[in-house]
């Protein structure tokens, strides 16, 4: 399998990305294979997760659309659509602030996919869903609050 395409937050140009990735420990020198970013995934808050991923100075952007329920029918399955209209979008990352491990994943759209992803996630308590988009060497961000409620007894 082709693992050379590793998912990293491709924020900078090729050289810059590599440097940033190295700095953040995303890529181990001497290895073409970057690991699934354990540090970021095990971070207990969004800020630490972003630090582990090398995300800095993410600017608030209106050009990222998050479609998610305001009140989720069930926190075990919350459907989320993310679309970026920022030119040159290379990756989309998702953080659920109030989850014990907020960093939920990164989607690499730099190799022929459109800047869109649909996923379904667990949200343990009402929380902002934060999205970070990497595009043209910069980071952009927006968030949407999702509420989780008590439901009935089984539908």
């Amino acid at each position: 399998m082709d693992r050379s395409r590793r998912v990293v937050l491709k924020g900078a140009g090729a050289g810059g990305a590599l440097a940033a990735a190295l700095a953040a420990g995303l890529l181990k020198p001497g290895s073409a294979l970057a690991a699934w970013n354990k540090g970021a995934f095990e971070a207990k808050n969004t800020a630490d997760a972003m630090k582990a991923l090398g995300v800095t100075n993410a600017a608030e952007s209106k050009d990222i659309q998050i479609r998610a329920p305001e009140i989720a029918e069930n926190g075990a399955v919350v459907p989320i659509d993310i679309t970026s209209t920022i030119p040159g979008t290379t990756s989309i990352s998702v953080f659920i602030d109030k989850n014990p491990f907020p960093y939920t994943g990164t989607f690499d759209v730099s190799q022929g996919a459109l800047p869109f992803v649909h996923l379904r996630v667990k949200i343990g308590e009402s929380s902002p869903v934060r999205v970070v988009v990497a595009a043209g060497g910069k980071y952009f961000t927006t968030a949407k609050e999702v509420k989780v409620t008590i439901g009935g007894c089984g539908g």
Binding site: N74, G75, A76, V148, I150, C153
Partner: protein
């Protein structure tokens, strides 16, 4: 909302999240006036409805349909036979359209059977499985999906988009329906609950969960096409046998036997009430 006192259902829901099972969200207080009458649009339900479509478009129930199809055609059991000769009412091996014509009377056993019961019958008679074994742990849990559950999901999926046409032409079918109606309205137990207590009126809900009025076609279909259903709580596939069983638990009744006459009668009542409506399941449920 409080941390300490959840409904049992909520506890079950959050246990599957397994992150912070006992921490619940802060919710917005309602407007400072009494609740709107039940006929007014319910903003929570409206928000759920908006995302129902999204959830239904990619429903993990399809994974169980695929599994059920594989099981249907596989040579299994002591007799090493497939279920291809199973007669679901439209002749041996006819699966398409069978689900929307069940429960029905089967002359070979002299009784009315619902889909799960008929599949069990085929697994016993064709494949040589033992009913005692099949009835031992009949319901899904996060670690195990019983084969009949996947098979029911497959069979139901083969009637997707068809009109419910539960037969009522035989006296046995009419009597089963009538007994089902009686059981639906049978109030007993410490809380005086019957099925009708929660499912006999329009526009009601328990907590945030809508309660379809099962006595009316347009509402009965909402319940009927939800099952077999992929339940987001726990991420498991359940059939109507489970749904009826768990309703009786919440009714504070003792436990009904799996694949019993009581459940068949209730399902006949429910299916006949949904007659004429288009079946869009298998469903996805909270």
């Amino acid at each position: 909302m409080t941390r300490y006192a959840l409904t049992r259902c909520a506890v079950a829901a959050f246990a599957t999240l397994a992150f912070v099972p006992l921490t619940l969200a802060q919710t917005k207080p309602p407007a400072a006036k009494p609740a709107a009458p039940a006929t007014a649009p319910d903003p929570t339900a409206a928000e759920f409805d908006k995302f129902r479509e999204v959830l239904e478009e990619d429903n993990p129930a399809e994974l169980f349909e695929a599994k059920g199809k594989e099981l249907w055609f596989a040579k299994r059991g002591p007799n090493s036979a497939s279920l291809e000769k199973c007669d679901l009412g439209l002749g041996p091996g006819v699966v398409k359209g069978a689900y929307v014509r069940l429960p029905r009377y089967f002359a070979d056993v002299g009784k009315v059977m619902d889909v799960e019961r008929r599949i069990l019958h085929c697994m016993v008679t064709l494949q040589g499985f033992k009913m005692e074994d099949l009835a031992k742990q009949p319901f899904s849990n996060p670690n195990r999906t019983p084969d009949p559950v996947s098979l029911v999901t497959y069979v139901a999926g083969q009637s997707r988009g068809m009109k419910i046409a539960t037969p009522m032409s035989r006296p046995e079918e009419r009597e089963t329906f009538e007994i089902g109606r009686e059981i639906f309205n049978y109030r007993a137990g410490p809380y005086d609950f019957s099925c009708a207590t929660c499912h006999g009126e329009d526009g009601k809900r328990i907590r945030t969960q809508p309660l379809p009025n099962l006595t009316k076609p347009a509402e009965a279909i909402r319940a009927y096409q939800g099952w077999p259903g992929y339940r987001m709580t726990g991420g498991v596939m359940h059939t109507l046998q489970w749904r009826m069983n768990d309703c009786f638990r919440q009714q504070r009744f003792p436990a009904p036997d799996y694949a019993s006459d009581t459940i068949t009668a209730l399902l006949a009542y429910l299916a006949v009430n949904a007659n004429g409506q288009v079946y869009k399941g298998p469903g996805i449920k909270r």
